[in-house]
Structure formats: structure tokens, C-alpha cells
């Protein structure tokens, strides 16, 4: 039987096998490094989302802190808005005490913003309030806070987009499936809220 291999054939096989092993080794090292880099990038992007949400939370709290002042200054002048004021106070209490999840924050914010907007729009009917320096300052501060909240929201959405792109496109999608990373949801302004802001 011609199963005996010559010396040179054996050495060729050994050479091929060893280069295959070396190649495979490099491939493993390369994959490990690639995995590490992609994994780190995904985690950093996810943390960026948490960071951005933290900023939104801070701004929203500032706005909620402003609300008692606004309610106080309007109460004296606008007796007819009692119901709106009560609702705002209730929502504010909910916002402060409720769980700090993205979904909850969005929901409370969506409920309270149209009320605030309507309240400030109604102020047009009370000229003494319009002329009140203290109220005007509150109005300006609120407008500024709304812009800053909007800016924080935009940054949050930008971070979410970055993260979602990273875990849904190649090669990140491979790593993402290994660590079970789910896409995050955007901070979307409800259609109703968008419509009411026109009155501002």
C-alpha cells in the first residue's frame, strides 16, 4: 500500500498546518481586539444616552421648581383658571415623586406642557398680569428653560440615533446580538403637544 509518505511530503504538510494555525491565531487575536473595540464603543454610546437623559431631567426639574412661582403669581389675577392651576400642581407632584424612567418622564412632560402653554397664553386677557415685572421675568425664564429642555432633548435623540445605528449596522450588529443590546426609544413630542405650542 502506498500510504507511506515521503519525508518531503510530511514536511510540506507540517508547514501548511503550522501556517494555518498561525493564521488562525492571528485571526482570533484580531477578532478579540475588534470585539473589544466595538463592545466598548457600544457601551460608551449607551452611557451617552443615560448622560443625556440626566441633563433633560435636570432641566425638567428646574421647570417644575418654577411652577409654584407661576401658579402663585397667576392665582391672584386669574380667578377663572383655578381648574388649570390645580391640574398643573397635581401633575407637578406626580413628576417629582414618580419613577425616573424615560417613558414616565415623557408622559408627564407631554401632559403638563400643553397646560402651561395654555395658561401663559390665557394671560393675554389679564393686562395687569402682563405688566407685572415679576411675572414677565418668570415668563422669560420659562421660555429659556423650554429652549434648554428642547436642546437637551435634541442631544438625547442624537445619542439614541448614534447608539441605534451602532447596534443595527455591521459590524456592531454582531456584537450587539451577543450582548443582547436593544435599541432605545426616542424622546418624541406627542402630536397634541406640538399643536398647542403654536399658541405660545
Amino acid at each position: 500500500m502506498e500510504s507511506n509518505l515521503t519525508a518531503s511530503q510530511v514536511s510540506i504538510w507540517i508547514q501548511m498546518a503550522s501556517s494555518l494555525i498561525i493564521f488562525f491565531g492571528f485571526f482570533l487575536i484580531f477578532s478579540a481586539i475588534a470585539f473589544m473595540l466595538i463592545y466598548n464603543s457600544i457601551i460608551m454610546k449607551r452611557n451617552q444616552i443615560r448622560n443625556a437623559f440626566g441633563s433633560i431631567d435636570v432641566m425638567l426639574k428646574k421647570r417644575y421648581d418654577l411652577i409654584p412661582n407661576i401658579v402663585e403669581s397667576v392665582k391672584g389675577y386669574a380667578k377663572y383658571e383655578k381648574e388649570t392651576l390645580e391640574q398643573i400642581a397635581k401633575l407637578r407632584a406626580m413628576a417629582i415623586s414618580g419613577p425616573a424612567t424615560v417613558r414616565n418622564t415623557i408622559e408627564v412632560d407631554a401632559a403638563i406642557t400643553p397646560l402651561l402653554t395654555r395658561l401663559l397664553a390665557v394671560v393675554e386677557n389679564y393686562p395687569q398680569l402682563k405688566a407685572n415685572e415679576g411675572f414677565l421675568h418668570l415668563q422669560r425664564t420659562l421660555a429659556e428653560l423650554e429652549e434648554q429642555i428642547s436642546a437637551a432633548r435634541r442631544f438625547f435623540n442624537s445619542s439614541v440615533l448614534d447608539y441605534n445605528n451602532a447596534i443595527q449596522t455591521m459590524p456592531g450588529v454582531i456584537v450587539a446580538s451577543l450582548i443582547a443590546a436593544k435599541p432605545e426609544e426616542f424622546f418624541v413630542i406627542a402630536a397634541a403637544e406640538r399643536g398647542v405650542t403654536k399658541a405660545f
Binding site: S150, A152, F155
Partner: protein, 311 residues
Amino acid sequence: MVDEARMQEMFQRLWPMLQEIEAERQQVKARMKKIIAGAFLMLILCAAVAGFYLFIAAVAIFVCTVFLYNAAGKDYVRNFKTKVMGPLVKAYDPHLEYQPQSGIYESEMMGSRIFLTHPNRYATEDLVSGAIGKTSVKFAEIRASRETGSGKNRRVEHIFNGLFFIADFNKDFKGTTLVLPDVAESTLGSFIGNMLQSSNFGRPQLVKLEDPEFEKRFVVYGDDQIEARYILSPSLMQRLLDCRKEIGKDVAFSFTKNKIYIAISGTGNLFEPPVWNGIDFRTFRRYFEDLELFAGIVDDLDLNERIWTKH
């Protein structure tokens, strides 16, 4: 867009002054013609006398001509600037002032953080300053460059040559946000362009915004991601784009120290009086248009809208 009615009205008002200056201009033009004719004559004489010395003579004549040229026109230029441009600016807005010899300090220009290189040659002139509505403004021409080495190794890096504009911004903020013309993204496409943008040393971190047209035109760097978005609201982004379209030249914006800085390069020598063409409605129109274009930035960017705490 030029306010035709206003321009007509100002032209009528300044007409007597324009006529005076026109008379001066014609004198200067006559003088210039004589200088050129004289120089030409000298050249011919030299050529007739000796060929070799012609070259040296030509150089000498050229130098003298330039010298005389400038001297002949100096008074005229000064008179034009004080008697025509001054009143024109004041008539455009009584709270504005024109000072031809003043300009913007180098420290202010560098303080905008738009430019990374410090100039060692700096010249500025034609300052318009004051207030438009509630916004205090100033703008002037700047020529800044950096010369290194000498003789054969002399290198000149042009840092900035154009109009520099500074105004109060209508929102308070703490850090710096830069909006620079985007070269990479428009030429190399978004992926590679983005990579190049984020590795730009010496700049604050890259800020990626939502408006695709804005992103194509400009690249934004900022100390704080949220503050950058607070300043660059969707409406301001649109206005900056429109501003860039109207000016038609490369524009860089900087938001720092509660002011907005705008660097418009390649505007040439503005508010310079004509020598060869007469001072008529057409040339007047050019000055008015230039002034309106730059002073109009305040309204174009809605800087007088003060609904936030800064008022």
C-alpha cells in the same frame, strides 16, 4: 435684498456732498492721468538714451509712480470717507458711527477662536460701530497673516482677509460654539468627511446636528453638546444658512463670551472711493448695498428678539 426706497432717499439727501466729492475725484483723476503720462514719457526718454539703464530707470519710475499715485489720492480718499461714508452710515441708522481709521483689535479677532494661527502682520480699518435696535454691533475690515522665514525661505500664511463682525447675542451661554465652513463633507462625502472632522486637533468636540443641509455646509464644534443645541435652534440654523447664501462668500461663525462673531472672507476693499468711474447712482448703490448687507445681519439673524432672560 436692497431697500430701494431708502437707498433713493439717501442718495437724494447726500447728493450735494456727492457732487463736491465728485469734483475732487475729477481733479484726482486728472492728476493720475498726468502722472501716468509723465511716467510713460520718462520711460521712452530712457529707452532712447541707453538700453541697459532702461531697466533700472523703469524700476525707479515705477516706484515713483506708485508713490505719487497714492499721494495724489490720499486726501481724496480721506475726504470721501468722512464726507460721504460717514453721513451715509449715520443716515442708515443714527445709532451707528463710521471711523475709517479704526478697526477691530487683534485680541478680539483671536478671542473668537475661529483662527488657530496667531498673526504677526495685522491691519484693520473702516470700522462701523454702535447699536441696531437693542443689539450693539461693530464690524471692520481685517487683513491678518503670518510671515515666517526670510529671503528665499519666506512663507506667508494668509490667516484672514475680509470683514469681521461682532454683535451681542440674544441668549446667555458659558462656553464656545464654532460653526465653520465644511470643506470635508462637501468634497469627500459624509463618512470620510465625518472622520476627518472629529479628528481636527485644537478644536473643541464635534457636534452633529439634525439639519442635513446645515451639516453639509457647516461643521460645528462646541465645548458643550447641549449648549451648542441651545444656541443653534432649528430656526437659527436656517437663518445662518440663508445668511451664508445671501453673502455668497465663505463665512465662519463663533459664539463665545455671549457674543456672535462672524468672519466673512474675500470681501475685497470695501468703502473705497472710485477714481476712474464717476460718483453716480450706480457706484452709490454699491456702497449702500454693502452697508445694508452687513448691518442687515442683525435683523437676518433676529438678534433683536429678546424673549429670554437676556434683554
